[in-house]
């Protein structure tokens, strides 16, 4: 007995990816095990910690709470897709490094996805808006302070770049 497979076609970080997957395969397992995009992490598998956050058509979602087949036909961005076109760090990624907005790095992909989504909509967020945006992503290392600093730094650098 082998499981019935279903076709999925998903654009991941700008690249078209197709596969045959079991219905019960979660999106995060698909990304990690099938596509070997291991930057997206598994923390709780019940939608609380946010380590598995990815952008689905530009919106942050929990890839542990979706099946791969539900992402069929959608556009996904994972942490591997956040760097600039030439492969160098994005301003947000670089700001996390500069402000020491991470330690063990495990929650970091989710934090980057959540804060990039915020900055896409709200280029000049207040501290309260940043905390709200990352409020669904748990971090056990940083106490969040340097993450907030990193997002503020990124916002100011992005604003300076636009001038």
């Amino acid at each position: 007995m082998s499981e019935k497979l279903y076709p999925v076609s998903i654009e991941v970080n700008g690249k078209a990816r197709s596969a045959q997957v079991p219905a019960r395969l979660s999106l995060v397992d698909f990304l990690r095990e099938e596509l070997r995009l291991t930057g997206t992490h598994v923390g709780c598998e019940h939608g609380i910690c946010g380590a598995c956050s990815v952008m689905l058509d530009g919106e942050p979602v929990r890839s542990c709470l979706m099946f791969a087949v539900q992402a069929d036909g959608h556009h996904l961005t994972t942490v591997e897709g956040l760097a600039q076109a030439d492969g160098s760090l994005s301003i947000l990624q670089d700001s996390f490094c500069e402000a020491h907005g991470l330690q063990c790095g495990y929650c970091t992909p989710g934090m980057l996805i959540a804060s990039q989504a915020l900055l896409n909509e709200t280029p000049n967020p207040s501290e309260a808006q940043i905390r709200d945006a990352i409020g669904g992503n748990l971090c056990r290392c940083t106490g969040y302070r340097q993450i907030v600093d990193a997002v503020q730094l990124a916002a100011s650098r992005l604003a300076a770049e636009k001038k």
Binding site: M1, S2, P22, R24, L25, R32, E33, R36, L37, T38, G39, T40, H41, V42, G43, C44, E45, H46, I48, C49, A51, V79, E80, L82, A83, L89, Q93, D94, F96, C97, E98, H100, L102, Q103, C104, G105, Y106, C107, T108, L112, E127, I130, R131, D132, I134, G135, G136, N137, L138, C139, R140, C141, T142, G143, Y144, R145, Q146, I147, V148, D149
Partner: protein, 805 residues
Amino acid sequence: MADAKSPYGFRYIGAKRRTKEHPRFVTGRGRYVADIALPGMKHVAIIASPHASARIVSIDSAAALAAPGVHYVLTGAEFCAATDALAIGVDTPRVTRYALANGVVRYAGEWVAAVVADTRALAEDAAELIEVEYATTPHVVDPEIAVLADSPQVHPAHGSNVLFHRRFVWGAVDEAFANAQNTVKLRVRWGRSSTVPIETFGVAAQWDAGREILDVWASIQMPKFPDQLARALRLPGNAVRVHYDVDVGGSYGVKRGIKHTALVSYLARKLGMPVRFLEDRLENMRGGDMHGPDRLFDMQAAFDNDGTIRALKIRALDDVGAYAGRSPLQLGKPVSAICGPYRIKAVEYEPTSVMTNKTPQEAVRGFGQSPTNFAIERTIDHIARHLDMDRIELRQKNLLKKEEFPYLIPSGSTYDSGDYHTVLDKAMKAIDYPALVAQRDAARKAGKLAGIGISTCLEPSGGNSAFEPLFNPKNDTTTWMDSCLVRVDLSGAITGVMGTSSSGQGHETLVSTVIGEVLERDPASIRVVRADSLNALPSNSPVGSRMAIMLGGAAAGAARKIKATLLAIAAHNLGCDAAALDYKDGNISLRADPAKKMSWDELIAVAHRKYHLMPPGFEPGLQTQFVWEVPTGGVLPTPEGVAQIYPCYSFETHIVYAEIDPATAKPSLQRYVCGHDCGVMINPDIVHGMTYGGIAHGIGAALYEKFSYTEDGQLESGTFMDYLLPSAMEIPSVDIVDHCTPSPLTTFGQKGSGEAGYLGAPAAIANAINDALAPLNASLETLPMSQEALFRVISASGAAGSGHR
């Protein structure tokens, strides 16, 4: 963020420096254990006990073995016969523990069998087909009942549930209590919580039959892990190769998956296939054996009317769950700072470690020190209340003064250095303490419950082992060395080699900064790698706030030896004494005649290629190692229980302002300042980061996090929906105020900081909440002070709460 320049006058130490590890993490290129995919790798699912205490009558695996993709079902009968029991920290040889239950289960969640299949999903499918018949037996979940002689026995062969009990008396305690003008008594309770990293524990193992080597990749933070694993598997130590170049997704003490690794390694060898097990969250919370201290304190203090504290009596009853491990030793570390930062000359300490039918305890950040600090700091506040004395004035009176260091405490450790009064002053200034008091008083007038909490606490650091022989005379370990190898290759590039994994502490940054400082070479150009356990020098891993001191000291020691070799090469070739030379940026010149010089490249070329120019007696090539013993180590405790434990003592003071909504009892922390002195900070951003994180963890332990059990011994909080980790919405914006009192014992004056923040936060928050409850004549002495617990206390006081506004 840190200053661009070192505040201490160093070239690199203390200056703003980006963490070397970060670029791989922000791009999704970390290499965590779950990212390691070995060809042909199989996956494990666990069958866990649903009962707190039972005999296993039978296990029927037939249906599971017939399920698709299944390779094997392993039960305790086979595993326990083929492996040895895991190591125990105290002398309790009959409290045996294996990865799989040996005919008896002792807590709900204990592993009973393991299924190996092609995928995790298939393994889980098959696990559901295994039929286990149990016969339940009496259980105990209350530690105060578990200590009684007629309680159900978790390990009947041991003859008692008590793993360790001793009454230490240091100084004239009874005399002080008899003569003091006042005494207070109180009972406080630290709840069962843990560090709960976002990454669960995981391990992959592969047996290389041709070489007879077991290769292990694990998210590990554990001293002597390869050795313990080899012993459990009955393999020689050199048949186990643990790969330390695995990124660990948080640990803070608990990533000690020795049972997981023994299980997976056994399966990999038995089946001749690579095998991986990654805990899911429920397995991690219930069967991961990583709960923290769960501790009742009965505290007594003797003190005079002027606030002078003469003596403490501390009874601590710690519920370690169903097996021993290292957990009883978490009552031992606090011996190293048993009087806190205070001038208290007599202390009685009576620790009891007791087993119950709950998930076993593992090392948690601070190794038992934070609960003890909480109990001491609650006692200090009770003394202040008894005397109607200001809590800060009382602390100032009893805190050790700068000129009293080094200071020998009654239990035998010497505090290296400190300036507690200045740190407290700085924190009070930073928060504007008088204005904070005015804010609290105004809030109270407006009908709010508002309180200020203060704590002044120590972080013993440097990770010595002396609590091991103190709690187990059969263990005469007196060293907890660490080491580093430094290599300068033919191209002149420098590599530092360390022998442990890291879980976010930035050790690659630490090592490269220290080597760069000594050799005056840019740390950005220095690579740091992690040897596997067969190639590594001895390490005791990043525990006990030790790596800045121990790995930093070892890296400096090795780099200094390289520098000495370079100077010897130059002296030999320039025909002078090494003392007549100047070393700058790796180039060496004659002080009296700077035109006579050798460049870095020339020196390296001599070492690697021109043996005819090497000074006699020197080995060719340019690499060296340094193994460093813990400063003040090498001494066994006395039979009376006096022990020099930790070398260095960091100090932290927390001032926090809390309000509790009188209608809903929801607490909120609105102002938070931490004054911190850990000596010289090698990388201030890293120290601050760990301190912010420690405070957040402390806020969780104080207000939110609890592994709660039913009377039946069922864990009620196995998910993140009921075990509440604080988010960015609960954690306030904390301000840290630095101070630097260098340690006289370490290479650069550094002290430890890996447990910072967590050691003083719960104490300060408990004091703030109780200050807020004081006008109601109410108090709460049990952590976590959950919203529900606060609601009950406020309602019982007759104030608000019951009447919603």
